[in-house]
């Protein structure tokens, strides 16, 4: 009943759900909204989606954190949010299919690549499992891995950015 005992706020479940969907679909790294004494911040990175609300909506906001989300430490200083808006000079390596991303050839083995690694077009940077079939993902470009954007065994959709390569690196 506690949830119900409030004036509905502009940040109702749907608002947050919509924002989360937006971030996912447009590959946004952070959304930060304020209205009066209410505030909501959503961040998205290797750790998945983190939802943080301050003010009356906290109770209603939490339940809709998306499956692969982990709540951010409450009141984490906003300095935490390192905006990773794709810089113009980075090349994105995207998933060719929906599936599950694997960072290493087999459990326990070291990852194919890590940030800082040099890649050539044929360098295998990961594997996508779709329908029990493992598809090797090659960099298809030359440069230095600037960032890995997905976690090991994370579900990915078509066109999702797996990692970013700095050709100038």
């Amino acid at each position: 009943m506690a949830d119900d005992a409030k004036i509905p706020s502009p940040f109702d479940l749907r608002t947050i759900k919509y924002l989360v969907a937006l971030m996912g679909r447009y590959d946004l790294s952070e959304i930060d909204l304020r209205e009066g004494d209410l505030r909501i911040r959503l961040r998205r990175g290797p750790r998945g989606i983190a939802v943080q609300t301050l003010g009356p909506t906290l109770a209603t906001a939490t339940p809709i954190v998306s499956p692969n989300a982990s709540p951010a430490p409450a009141g984490a200083p906003s300095g935490d949010a390192k905006p990773d808006v794709p810089a113009r000079n980075l090349i994105s390596v995207k998933s060719p299919t929906p599936g599950t991303f694997y960072a290493s050839p087999n459990p326990g083995a070291p990852p194919f690549v890590q940030a800082g690694a040099r890649v050539t077009p044929t360098t295998v940077v990961g594997v996508i499992e779709a329908m029990k079939i493992f598809n090797e993902i090659q960099a298809e470009c030359t440069g230095v891995v600037a960032e890995i954007c997905v976690e090991n065994q994370q579900p990915v959709e078509y066109g999702q950015v797996l990692l970013k390569v700095d050709p100038a690196g």
């Binding site: 009943m1 949830d3 119900d4 005992a5 509905p8 109702d12 749907r14 009356p56």
Partner: protein, 448 residues
């Protein structure tokens, strides 16, 4: 049957009446104030006539201008909708004196039932239970105190000419009674030019149950079962449904039969609604008759399959009802949410303005009555109702799920609406279980 009808109203109910006329193949003329000049529903009518500026007194409440519009539009009848002039017996009389039929009850019945004291007397004569209270108006404080002690506190002080909760006061002891009566009289004097008040036993946390009636000019009167309108905020209904949850069927039958008796005793014709309070022991008490079509009438249309506005027009045209009480069935469960242009986060402050996005729900079991759309400007001049969202499903749990889905689909931007509040209501366990009363909203949301 009429060839041409004028709609003396605006917004969703004007469109509702226009639709009924179209469905009957009747030409329909809309009137509009300058504040509604751009309203899209005016294009649906066969003709639209400007009758004045935005101020209602100069347009939708201005009898001479509406009658002149009806005369130049050459219509045979006027549908008043709800609000504005719909319960004004003088307007009904003027229409008929101009040989324009008023689509509503006889003015005599309107006058009789419009006076709460007379209506109450009539109910008692018809064997319809009423809330214990003063027989007639309160003359002095001494009488008020005697009565209050007789029926026991708390008591309700009501203005004889009041309505919609205006001029109502609860008194829980002698002092609050005396001051309350004084204030109520002043308020009523100011609001209705009639300061007379009366006393009633105050029913704690009652449910609001009303019965829809249709009566033709040939002595046929039928009820279309009940609506539960307990979900109210400051006496404004938010959610209405039929059937009323947890109402024992024998009580339902008795309430419906009582409503028919009262309507017949008043020689009432056309559509009307008898409102009752139902207490925790399922005892019911007559409150008042609404002598017009009501905002929530589609709830009854969905469970009975009968188009109430078309029936109003047929009755006004002198046609007998084409069905008997035995033909009227209550099928499935229907619920209505009133979507108002108000900001639930700011104490329901009106939120007029231009709608920039309007993503309406639809699909199976969903009915939407609205005059709004993307690009429509909600004028600040009138009430804030912008849409009525209804669902009809085989059972109440299915209706709740369907309404939850429809509310989730409904996206409105540019103005604030009560949609977020409704989303919370339909996830509230007490409401889901049908355990609500007229004080529910205040008790549940106002304290937050």
């Amino acid at each position: 049957m009429f060839q041409r009808i004028l709609v003396a109203n605006r917004g969703e109910i004007a469109l509702r009446v226009i639709r009924a006329c179209k469905d009957l193949g009747i030409q329909v003329v809309a009137v509009f104030s300058e504040a509604d000049r751009d309203a899209p529903y005016l294009d649906v009518a066969d003709d639209a006539i400007c009758i004045g500026p935005g101020n209602s007194a100069e347009s939708y409440l201005n009898i001479p201008r509406i009658i002149s519009a009806a005369e130049i539009a050459d219509v045979q009848a006027i549908h008043p909708g709800y609000g504005f002039l719909s319960e004004n017996p003088h307007f009904a009389e003027v229409c008929r004196s101009c040989n324009i039929e008023f689509i509503g009850p006889p003015q005599e019945a309107m006058r009789l039932l419009g006076n709460k004291n007379e209506a109450r007397k009539l109910a008692q004569q018809s064997g319809v239970p009423v809330v214990p209270g003063s027989e007639g108006l309160i003359e002095n404080d001494g009488e008020a105190l005697r009565l209050a002690h007789a029926m026991g506190f708390p008591v309700l002080i009501k203005a004889a000419a009041g309505g919609g909760g205006r001029g109502m006061r609860v008194a829980r002891n002698d002092i609050s009674l005396q001051t309350g009566i004084q204030q109520a009289k002043q308020e009523a004097e100011k609001a209705f030019k009639d300061g007379s008040v009366y006393l009633e036993k105050y029913i704690e946390q009652p449910r609001h149950v009303e019965v829809q009636i249709l009566a033709d000019r040939h002595g046929n009167t039928v009820h279309l079962f009940e609506r539960d309108c307990s979900l109210q905020r400051r006496h404004q209904k938010l959610v209405e449904e039929s059937p009323a949850p947890h109402l024992p069927s024998d009580v339902r039958d008795e309430i419906c039969r009582s409503a028919v008796r009262l309507i017949q005793a008043a020689s009432y014709q056309n559509a009307g609604t008898c409102e009752f309070l139902v207490d925790k022991q399922n005892r019911f008490y007559f409150i008042e008759v609404n002598a017009r079509i009501q905002v929530e009438h589609p709830v009854t249309e969905l469970v009975t399959g009968i188009d109430l506005v078309r029936e109003q027009i047929r009755i006004a045209a002198g046609e007998p009802l084409r069905f008997t009480q035995d033909d009227v069935h209550q099928t499935g469960s229907a619920i209505e949410c009133r979507i108002n242009a108000e900001d639930p986060a700011a104490d329901f402050r009106p939120s007029p303005g231009t709608i920039t996005r309007w993503q309406a729900p639809g699909g199976p079991g969903v009915r939407l009555d609205t005059h709004a759309a993307a690009g429509y400007r909600v004028p600040p001049n009138y009430d804030s109702l912008v849409a009525k969202l209804l669902v009809h499903q085989p059972s109440r749990p299915e209706a709740l799920a369907c309404m939850r889905r429809a509310l989730a689909e409904f996206v409105v931007e540019g103005i604030k609406t009560t949609i977020p509040l409704h989303r919370e209501i339909f996830n509230n366990s007490a409401f889901i279980e049908g355990r609500v009363d007229t004080t529910f909203i205040e008790r549940t949301w106002q304290k937050g």
